[in-house]
Symmetry: C3
Subunit: 334 residues, 3 copies
């Protein structure tokens, strides 16, 4: 499959327009660590479909607007070309662009806000990556989480935004036990699929299949770990007694599956020991997702992928010997 | 203007008392990055007047008490003399001393609290500056924000303090659209002036003029950027639909104007590219101020200059090529 | 007293089972910085008694389960042997294991949760220690605080846990002045004793005496500073007008006394200047405890030893000249 990309890479090297397209596609691919324009294209189609099918075309559009803004900003800021060409300045922006129109009502001001968010996510990426580099750890989606939370919170302070789709600020109450139901096979499959597509803030089964295909064209281990991570998350959440609707909607699985991919094949070379370590990390991310969903409640904010970021940092920072540095892709560590 | 300071500096070099006075004046000046005793004197007069005119003389007095406590503490802790002589241990203490009596009722216990806060702000400055130095970034007013928020929050836990002037702890609600009014010229000018004086927690037009004068005697670009930053903040806040009373009271402009000065002439050498970069940073600080005003609501706390600190760190951490290190004042990077 | 340990150490060197026991005992001892199995044994007895006398044997059991899980995890992760043998991977786990059953109802799921928490606390210790090492500072009990807060918060999201003993999520209100009473001698002594035993989340006078004995067998200065720190905390809290029941229950003294030990004899060599510095740090920790008790209120969480961690980091980070690096125990800085 990768042989197909050699002629494309030659075309990009000789055309600034194609290079620009390539950077943006890789930016989308990097949401799930894929430095591959074909993965990015499949992800883009998956989210386009999920957004159209869900009756919210502004979400897919927002993603593209922020993505383009980030690439322009990255050129203007004269960032490192290797990182830029690998799509490392696009994935956080793309997620910012999906998130803002998911929670805020469309308006001309919103589009300016989305473009600003995409551009500033490049600054945030540079800032967070520089700090993280001190300990050899990647910025992950921390820039997306930081910028989106701040911009969503701010939207409530300004009358120019419609904030009706944001969660309501509330005190924290324990789950109603009747909301937790035993595991059923149909729900189980739905929970796994929705977990995969919720990485891009959309719950859609066909999108999930396209996303797994997008992973598989670049990395079979990543595709396997995505499905396995989502499965572990759904089972763990059920065993702990999580709210059934959250599990089935994929809202407790998207962060853990990202942890599974990150720990299982991106930052450590696959091995039995790494699989066990990633398994503990994935289970712990489910607990973190439960914790953070509640922690953000008084602020009326969604936790986004914060649980993935915190859990993956926690499990990467020790710099354990399971980590064979030679196997770490240079792109993903920036 | 700076020629006037040469004889004064010679006098300070030969008199411990004058050196002590000089350190404290520079400490006040450093609130707005001015390593100049004349700036400090003008700032001190500005705040003295604003405090007296507002009927709260304890605010100006608190500032001086904390400032003196910080200088004594800095000597006792045997800090770096170059930093000490530049006033780098005074500005956070001075702000702590202004803030505590702004929100807490006067009492003998309060004065002890103010002195303790001033002294501990030196420890916080040393701690935060050491961490920040890892990435070549200044501590800014982070020590002031940290110490003041903790001491204000604590005041509610102890019966010895009157905490009636603190904001009430509340859940977060979206702005009432009727609170956002179209831009009017009188309000506009008032918003710009109040933004400048609110850097020192006071809304007063004459104080603002004295503060701009204090900037101008040391740095014309800083004076221009203060007014320009406040103007950008007021216009941005109006365009986003912020609460009119907040804008006019200067409460959405003081952090952005500090960002404008920091990015526009303190940490980067002025250039067209830097001006554009500082403009984006200033606009983003308005958004951050909106976000943080709400984020602190459940804790019943004011955001203080936290938005300035976060935005400026975010825009400095990338260590971009716009930064010509030779132009960075040594004092301000500590 | 230390002469007694030489034969024990020889036995441990020749027996994997005794080494395992030694590691776990030192792990308990390190809760109060004591790298000594006899201290650990006395602490273990103290908490066993406090737990039994309080009618909550599951608390002492939880501590042991998490401690064993952490030692197994540390072996599996192949951590540094010197640190492992000094008990540095046990003390956070032991505290996690005491805390979870203090706030959550016993159940088979809880025991799994406690074991997972103990194991993950090793990962958190490695992660936080690595970051802290950048500035030569110890991780202290930050791993315990982080893991416990996340797991307690998460417990409310899952129906499998009984969370009735957790504080209720609430907005912040100022103290009712009538709750603050003048200092009485009986209350004073009780407050000091309870402060000591609350380091391990238990209020019990006999436990406090055993804990002081456990300190004294390894370090007389540590024992003196524990009592002195608790005394300073109780007096300061009374002077500030804290709630009488909190003071008498030891809930405002356990963090300050840890600060007193850490600053007074663990990380700085004892001297008059260090005593003064530690005194200010101890007083400031009381203020921090007041602040953080309120800050965690909207999340319905206890502050645990977070005030000790924040205050001690703040007072250690400056790396002042009072610090004679040769006197810093190697074990405690990891």
């Amino acid at each position: 499959m990768k042989a197909l990309l050699a002629p494309w890479e030659r075309l990009c090297a000789s055309s600034a327009v194609l290079r620009f397209v390539d950077i943006n596609l890789r930016g989308v691919g990097q949401v799930m660590f894929m430095d591959n324009p074909l993965s990015g294209l499949l992800f883009l189609v998956a989210i386009g479909w999920g957004s159209y099918a869900g009756g919210v075309p502004q979400v897919a559009t927002g993603g593209i607007v922020a993505l383009l803004a980030s690439t322009v900003a990255a050129y203007w800021l004269d960032v490192d070309r290797t990182d830029l060409h690998a799509g490392l300045f696009g994935f956080n922006a793309y997620l910012v662009g999906l998130a803002l129109p998911t929670f805020l009502a469309p308006s001309p001001l919103l589009w300016l806000y989305v473009a600003l968010g995409g551009a500033v996510s490049v600054v945030a990426m540079l800032a967070i990556a520089r700090v993280c580099k001190t300990w050899g750890v990647a910025a992950l989606t921390a820039p997306f989480v930081l910028i989106t939370l701040l911009m969503l919170l701010a939207a409530r302070a300004f009358a120019g935004f419609g904030t009706g789709a944001l969660p309501v600020s509330a005190l924290i109450t324990p789950i109603d036990p009747s909301a937790a139901n035993p595991l059923q096979f149909g729900d189980f499959v739905e929970g796994v699929l929705q977990s995969i597509s919720q990485v891009f803030l959309k719950g859609n089964g066909l999108s999930a299949v396209l996303l797994v295909a997008g992973l598989a064209v670049n990395s079979i281990p990543a595709a396997v770990l995505a499905v396995a991570g989502a499965t572990v998350a759904v089972v763990t959440a059920h065993m702990l007694g999580a709210e059934d609707a959250l599990i089935t909607g994929g809202l407790l699985g998207f962060s853990p599956l990202l942890t599974a991919i990150a720990l299982g094949c991106v930052f450590y070379p696959p091995s039995l020991r790494v699989v066990l370590y990633a398994l503990v990390g994935t289970v712990f991310t489910v607990i973190l997702q439960g914790a953070m969903n509640l922690a953000f409640m008084p602020f009326g904010l969604p936790a986004l992928t914060a649980p993935f970021v915190v859990a993956t940092w926690l499990f990467l920072l020790p710099g354990l010997q399971l980590k064979a540095t030679s196997a770490v892709p240079v792109k993903a560590t920036s």
